[in-house]
Subunit: 414 residues, 2 copies
């Protein structure tokens, strides 16, 4: 079969499974996920062996990607615990969003229902196989998983365990299918599978994101760049500003919530110490001429630095005149992911929170908090940077839609 036929057949099976999962009880879904977690724990040896084979053949990957790919006993246990954690979350399906009875007397309610069939396209991290499948099943969706070829043996072993657990409790194996073919055309077939796949969730590097943007005909919940800003206002507490800036840039540089551009108010009195602290902690700063004047170790920023998600110790630094200038900079260069302000001035903070048009806007907190777990959502399948449907960390609720249910008593329309 060619890739399109494979995806069509998987999609048809997924639709049938999705219809059953949509009306599956919360307890049945939880039992399925707990069994899946147990099966993953039971298969630690298999999964480790498969992962070692993936790592051994992944000679073209750099160390950071090898680290993402590698699984050990602790990571497999964390993956199983993650599935158990999803099973413990509140079930969004069936939640009533609102009710109304208009003049016609029909009792209307909006009720959360699953999206249907999710197509998940991802790279490197094999734990996404279990994370995404668990979130999909708990939210009543079927999922079609397409992981990166570099992790194919690991993904296959994890998927086999997950599905064995699910099916032991009576949930269909078609609820969480894995695309087995290495044919890259399968990604294209998923992206154009209108009517078969209801939403594509891509998680990967710029190459994947670009391909999705170009080829997708199915709606996409995309996780794009996190070109995140921190604005240190004139009235910022210097100790707090320094701690937040260093944490936001350097806690982990490879995560989407890491800081990429620092905006320092011209009237902020402790700018020298802030820059010195960042440099001392290992950041590589490039700035405008005003930022360069603060410390000779600050390089000159190129135009592209203001628009870059470095995912590295690099940091662009600009000195701005006031909050309006900071807002303008963010409006021009931001990617709508996460932006933050440090200030003790509540009015300025509220203006910033109201006017920055990003998925996440923070006052006196590190941008590294951009994470579904930190937001108390229990997990996340990604951070949505688009504007439609869901924005910011996406967990169970973001994997649902709603329908209108109307209970009448014989109404006809005049």
């Amino acid at each position: 079969m060619d890739a399109a036929a494979i995806i069509a057949a998987m999609g048809a099976r997924a639709r049938t499974a999705a219809r059953e999962l949509a009306v599956c009880s919360t307890e049945a879904k939880r039992a399925g996920l707990r069994a899946a977690a147990a099966a993953i724990r039971n298969d630690v040896a298999n999964i480790t062996t498969a992962n070692e084979a993936d790592v051994a053949t992944a000679t073209s990957l750099n160390d950071a990607l090898i680290d993402r790919l590698r699984l050990d006993t602790d990571r497999i246990e964390a993956m199983a615990a993650g599935v158990d954690a999803v099973a413990a979350l509140d079930d969004p399906v069936g939640q009533v969003i609102d009710t109304r009875t208009p003049a016609n007397g029909i009792a209307l309610s909006r009720v959360r229902v699953p999206l249907g069939v999710i197509g998940m396209i991802y790279e490197s991290r094999p734990n996404v196989t279990a994370d995404a499948a668990a979130l999909a099943v708990m939210s009543g969706n079927a999922i079609i998983l397409r992981g990166g070829s570099e992790a194919s043996r690991s993904n296959a072993a994890i998927h086999a365990a997950f599905v064995r657990g699910l099916t032991e409790t009576g949930i269909s194996a078609d609820a969480a299918q894995r695309v087995e073919t290495a044919d890259r055309a399968a990604v294209g077939a998923m992206l154009t599978a209108n009517g078969l796949i209801d939403v594509i969730i891509p998680r990967g590097g710029k190459g994947l994101v670009a391909r999705v943007q170009t080829e997708a005909r199915v709606p996409v919940l995309a996780h794009l760049d996190g070109n995140n800003h921190l604005y240190v206002h004139a009235a910022a507490d210097p100790v707090m500003a320094q701690a937040i800036a260093v944490n936001a840039k350097l806690r982990r540089t490879g995560v989407c919530g890491s800081l990429e551009t620092l905006l320092i108010d011209r009237a902020y009195p402790a700018a020298l110490a802030l820059v010195a602290a960042l440099l001392g902690a290992g950041a590589i700063l490039r700035g405008d001429t005003a930022a360069q004047a603060l410390d000779p170790r600050v390089g000159l920023a190129s135009d592209s630095d203001w628009d870059s998600e470095f995912l590295a110790p690099d940091l662009a630094v600009a000195v701005v005149d006031d909050v309006d200038a900071a807002l303008q900079h963010i409006a021009r260069h931001g990617s709508g992911h996460t932006d933050a302000i440090v200030t003790e001035d509540r009015a300025v903070a509220e203006a910033f929170l109201a006017r920055v048009d990003s998925a996440i806007v923070l006052h006196n907190a590190s941008t590294q908090f951009a994470d579904g777990g930190e937001f108390g959502l229990g997990a996340e399948i990604g951070i949505a940077t688009g504007r439609l449907h869901a924005r910011g960390p996406v967990a169970l609720e973001g994997l649902t839609t709603y329908k209108w249910i109307g209970r009448g008593s014989g109404q006809v329309r005049l």
Copy 2:
């Protein structure tokens, strides 16, 4: 300028206007809309003259389309009253969807914000110009309007009045721009205006919908077919079933909520009277052999009848064995718009409401209630048949998204 350059320039102005509208007070938006309504009333003569010219040149349109195009004093007053009605609706912007303070102590809230810039592509009905602009402005969005060429003079006159009213109160004219070029490439430019237009809302016939499905790179809130079903269960009240079926099919056959397929339970005792009532009221029935056996005037349905949105007195009729068979028929042929059941059996009704995966599912009520006004939303910009973002009638809330606001006290992430 070519179409792409025109749309790019309009999009840039719209973005600036959208940023201001996003933080505009409810009262300022209401004042702007009331002034727009007053300006439309003031321009009745101009708008009528422009509309007469459109009607005079629309020689290729059929009577139904001419009727959609035509404006008179009453219709213009209704349009102005519609703008006033939108001004009276609750403002969704700034509404707090939920709040939480996770273990990290950051006080998080999800707050409704506008989508940004809406691209509205529509045909025939010139009142959409005012309706869509009013809904966009009230929800804090800028809008770029592209109406059909057959209504261009009417749309221009309505738009000029609307914007004159808006700007009298200080709202930018860029909040509601109209694409003036007749170049059809402008539609293509809108559909691919990523970063300039945040969502496309198409309202028109199958040709427009197909073009949008093929060409759109911007997310779409689509209004597709309404292939709506009514299932008359064995335990339906015969008087109610007959009244609802006749109303659903024939009250207005050209609206998206009209009934297109009737499913009669084999055990429903009053099937003959139901079919006779529909025929007597002017419906044209084509059915399966069991339906044909009910009345000699029932024609034989072709395969395509089960998948057709007739928007005409035509009605497909099938006899089904039970509620499961009805659910299977709807799952296979339905378009996810509006489906209904008539029954006095509450358990069967609840199973139907839970299992039919459509935007609107009704018990003991006519499918013709599929309408934002009837749902108490005050208005609608369309009925969304997709699964992401909004489903069913879309009014102000559907034109918003949300952002996460976090108020901290110096938190850094461990």
